[in-house]
């Protein structure tokens, strides 16, 4: 028995990336856009979906990632769009291999867009490519304006940043300039959106962004 040192120099996430690539290839062939919604628990991901689904003419489906329970999935089901729930059994994010084994259960020939509602968490979901076209960072006014700098990976990876619950701005100390200033430094190319699902603010712009992405994907 001998001990020896072995130089490896090997990236660890290779397996995950191959699943992500498989999903990308499949969705490109079908012309379907995939949008990965990432934000804290309670930031308003499910509510945003409820306000989006079935209202903008896009044929959508939802993959729901949750640690436990099917509460969010039930809310999505009530909108009438096809949805599939992935329970992570305590896992803090979705991974490409789970999404891969789920995706063919959706009616792919009848879809324009698949939303993935990731597990409520600002850290891990940003690490994992699940084959999506765009990550969307969702954070809400009551969480405070310091989230971009505290969780920079999510905000640098996101194609769009949505600030939800802006109807609470009169009641909660929140520095909008600080928040959007930090987002602008981390990721000047991200689309920025103030949103209140209660007041309906930002929903039309959100719809325009989604349509723009879909068009880009189908023409590109």
């Amino acid at each position: 028995m001998t001990t020896k040192k072995v130089e490896v120099q090997q990236a660890v996430m290779a397996a995950d990336l191959s699943y992500a690539q498989k999903i990308k290839d499949r969705l490109r062939e079908k012309g379907i856009l995939m949008v990965n919604l990432i934000g804290s628990p309670g930031s308003g991901k499910t509510t945003l979906l409820e306000k989006t689904l079935g209202k903008d003419g896009l044929r959508a489906a939802v993959i729901e990632g949750d640690v436990a329970t099917d509460r969010d999935a039930k809310r999505i089901e009530a909108t009438g769009v096809p949805s599939i729930q992935i329970n992570t059994d305590g896992g803090c994010h979705l991974e490409a291999n789970w999404v891969d084994s789920t995706i063919d259960k959706l009616p792919l020939d009848e879809l324009d867009i698949i939303f993935v509602e990731n597990v409520g968490n600002l850290v891990c979901p940003a690490e994992f490519d699940i084959g999506e076209d765009h990550k969307v960072a969702i954070s809400s006014v009551p969480e405070g304006p310091d989230k971009p700098l505290k969780y920079p990976l999510l905000f640098t990876e996101a194609s769009a940043v949505v600030l939800t619950k802006t109807d609470l701005l009169p009641y909660v100390p929140f520095d909008l300039d600080l928040y959007w200033g930090d987002v602008g430094k981390l990721n000047p190319k991200a689309k920025r959106l103030d949103m209140s699902c209660v007041k309906g603010e930002g929903l039309e712009e959100w719809s325009r962004i989604l349509r723009g992405w879909l068009e880009e994907k189908r023409n590109g």
Binding site: M1, T2, T3, K4, K5, V6, E7, V8, Q9, Q10, A11, V12, M13, A14, A15, D16, G91, C92, H93, E95, V123, C124, A126, E127, F128, L149, Y151, P152, L153, T156, G184, K185, L186, N187, P188, K189
Partner: protein
């Protein structure tokens, strides 16, 4: 935790392929943008390797600092100015050159 699972998966595959009897130490390069807390990762590793050929292996983590560069003006900067906006020319054509690494650098293994 799932980063640790991914690492263990890679290690197990290597142990299988090379027929090593055990792994004594693992050196990992982790980018600072990976949001890994070394002590937490070491703890997760120690707990997860029980009953595998990696049991008892020492995990060393080399932290790789974040570095950006601007394609516009050629400037380089690090984590004091986080982000894809060049602090020198204000340009947005910026690359993250390092900071997202998650790589097995080297191992010490016991051969059969």
């Amino acid at each position: 935790m799932s980063l640790v699972s991914a690492i263990l998966e890679s290690l197990e595959k290597m142990v299988d392929e090379n027929g090593w009897s055990s792994v004594k130490s693992v050196t990992l390069r982790v980018g600072a943008m990976r949001q890994v807390i070394p002590d937490v990762m070491k703890f997760a590793f120690d707990v997860s390797v029980k009953g595998t050929p990696m049991e008892g292996a020492e995990l060393a983590i080399i932290s790789v600092p974040i570095k950006f560069s601007c394609r516009g003006c050629g400037a380089h900067w690090g984590e004091e100015e986080l982000g894809y906006l060049c602090p020198f020319c204000g340009g947005t054509n910026v690359d993250m050159d390092q900071g997202m690494e998650l790589e097995l650098e080297s191992l010490e293994v016991q051969e059969r």
